[in-house]
Subunit: 216 residues, 2 copies
């Protein structure tokens, strides 16, 4: 296994991001020797998550990060898709090795024009928004189109990051990290997607405070 | 669904905790209306994770939190099992509704004497340590003994928290959160436990820098 890689992984932050969206990929990608994990936002300092109890500290501003090797954009519940992150994505995407998103993070990629005509995924409740911005919604957990990799809602970031790690450093590294984080999932219910959950649960979540992306 | 619950969920922090261990349960439990999520450590302020790139800010000191309804203890790679968290666990456990751990967090529970003679789980690489502290290691993802619920390594905290949520508020709430975080896992590899991963991957992870708990 190569230990001499030297890659900057830029995790984007904005007020209202969803913590697990970004910490899942962080745990997978930041663990790898030679990976430098940085947290990027409009300004340095704490950025509050959508549940409003877990600020993550931005270590860099968007202006300072001009050449990241990998970009990871998390989803969230309320945000400005035309804000500073939009210009940053347009600026850095041409030179990234990988540009990725989790959950409604793909809405940012689409708003920046990176997904025009491409297949992509997002949180199941945001598929219409994704399509309205020019992407073709794919009902998949993780989908790659060239150097863009998008993931479905929240927890799908773990699957995305392991998939990405395999592409970056090979299967053994990805399997090693999967084993290290003991990712042998055994959900106690089978309600993780709208097609599997009981109809009354789908209806409930669609109304649920704070869990459905709000683009209005 | 009851929206009038009022429960304090105390997430314990210490230097060297593993971020995903605690953010998985946070995303599941903090999302529920009426749940108050607090971060507890020896002193207020940032506490660095084991990967050394994601400090989480403690909002409360152990001294201030005398009556939490739920305690969640994450695992980590290096820590003092006889430090302040030990006394805090002994003090608050008698009045919690649930005392829980993820990964090597169960080592803290065991060191505090809470697992004497009980079945519990932990990160696969730490099972001998867990047993040396008086617990009976169970090779399961999530196990309940009375009001104590322990989970296997890192990502198992998501399964633990959904299991716990079902016990706290019923299946519909747990299913709703599972759907909200789109927890329909599809790992790209089948290497999430030592019994499933290739032998050379198990060997590699056992030597891997920073990923195996270090109790020395």
């Amino acid at each position: 296994m190569a230990h001499d890689v030297d890659m900057q992984i830029a995790f984007a932050l904005y007020p209202g991001f969803t913590a697990l969206d970004i910490v899942g990929p962080y745990q997978v990608l930041a663990e790898v020797p030679g990976h430098e994990a940085i947290w990027v936002a409009t300004k340095k300092g704490p950025v509050m998550d959508h549940t409003k109890n877990l600020p993550i500290t931005a270590t860099h501003t968007f202006d300072e990060v001009t050449n990241p090797d990998v970009v990871v954009v998390p989803g969230g519940t309320t945000y400005d898709i035309n804000g500073p992150i939009n210009a940053w994505l347009r600026a850095v995407h041409p030179t990234t090795q990988w540009t990725t998103s989790v959950c409604t993070g793909s809405i940012f990629l689409a708003a920046a024009g990176l997904l025009d005509g491409l297949e992509a995924t997002t949180h199941w409740a945001a598929k219409d928004t994704l399509e309205s911005l020019g992407a073709k919604y794919s009902e998949t957990r993780v989908i790659q189109q060239g150097k863009i990799v998008t993931a479905a809602g929240v927890s799908a970031g773990i699957d995305m990051a392991l998939t990405l790690l395999g592409k970056m450093h090979g299967d053994v590294m990805a399997q090693a990290i999967q084993l290290a984080i003991e990712y042998d999932p055994q959900p106690p219910y089978n309600a993780g997607s709208p097609s599997k959950a009981p109809a009354h649960v789908v209806e409930l979540v669609s109304k649920f405070r704070g869990l459905r992306p709000n683009f209005e």
